[in-house]
Amino acid sequence: MKIRHSLTGNEAMAEAMRQINPDVVAAYPITPQTEIVQLFSNSVADGKVNTEFVTVESEHSAMSATIGASAAGARAMTATSANGLAYMWEVVYIAASMRLPIVMPVVNRALSGPINIHCDHSDTMGARDSGWIQIYSENSQEAYDNLIQAMRVAEHSEIQLPVMVCMDGFIISHGMEVIEMEDDDTVRKFIGEHKANYSLLDVKNPITMGPLDLQDFYFEHKKQQAEAMKNSAAVIRDVAKEWEKLTGRSYDMIEEYRMEDAEIAIVAIGSATGTAKVVIDGLREKGVKAGLVKIRVFRPFPKEEIAKALANTKAVAIMDRAESFADFGGPLFRDIRASLYDHDVRPKMVSYVYGLGGRDVMPEDIASVYADLERLVKGEQLPMLNHLGVRE
């Protein structure tokens, strides 16, 4: 049964967590994520979930406690943003290398400094090589759906990898929208019971987790992680198909919007893709063959899908809501350029870093990128690296 609700992104995530009913949640507050665990703790206090809620003294402890709980065989979750993610850094890697199926909402926020609490993707983009699966959400509905699907992906016996489910800070986390929720039974049946491959609390089968692992085997364990990440793409797709059958809402690694005959396209992640769709509809009315590729899953990187989607375009703008300070665009730009390296026909490709520190992205901003792409198609020279809307 579907339930229509008007919820903020944070409320949607907190509701999904209530329905998931994890065994353990250990969390520390940080804007703009705080509301998720605050609302979830209400569910704990009201007896709506059976969760052991651990209030820890830092994000490092939050992730450490979550790792401990997960290693004990519990379904364990936490949530964070920006500097909180940065503070849990070393244990973020340990969660992935211990192959613990932890699911963590991350409300994307700029990393300081200067101090800023608003949206960009610099926090999770920095964690792109940590071994976590990363799923990004355009709106509250996707945040809700992605969080529930992430449980199945993480806990799949062949995958056993942690997942970050990302949504844009304030823009989505604090913006109220109409979403469709499934009823508690449907969600609980979908995610099923968590059966950990190993448990530290199984006294009849004592095991060791996280041992010293030096030159002789460490590399083999990294290969296993890489292999699990590779295999996760098929599981992400299967889980999405199953969720679609249940809800009618479809998901894939990427979403193509009006790409069938697109000559110019934008590739982007997160809430700005919604605004881009509105801009595309306007351009299409004027006969401009514009399209969008939205990245839903960034890790594992959907290289084939992206290459296929962009194969027939003439010019593409890759929009990164994070600056890499590499003098070579953002992380998405570089990954996509690399994805097309082996293809004979390649579109022209330019980088736009945009929306840092919550800088609003208006339809006019996105329209200006499409205008640039049209000029590029006509043969004009444009700089490869751009900072969209920054004051010169």
Partner: protein, 104 residues
Amino acid sequence: MSEKKVIPAGATWKEIPVAGIIPTAGTAQEFKTGDWRTRKPIHDEKKCINCLRCWIYCPDASIMVKDGKVIGIDYDHCKGCGICANVCPDKVKALTMIAQSEEE
């Protein structure tokens, strides 16, 4: 308890448990550390009063005991730290340390 399985050196990534998990207990027994030893305890059965202090203190569980009596030392795992000889009562001194090279 699941069956103990020794992973050979040179096993491939497909053959080893994920994440370095050691899925059974007591695997240290398979790992011979005796060659770390530079000094070696010698047990004198005649002097020994079987107080078992050495057995309690040995950090590597290398004092072999049967029916309440010390029957020898597990040289496969003894690292030669000398704690056993140190805790052996002064009036007994049933354990003495000798250099590994002095071995007969």
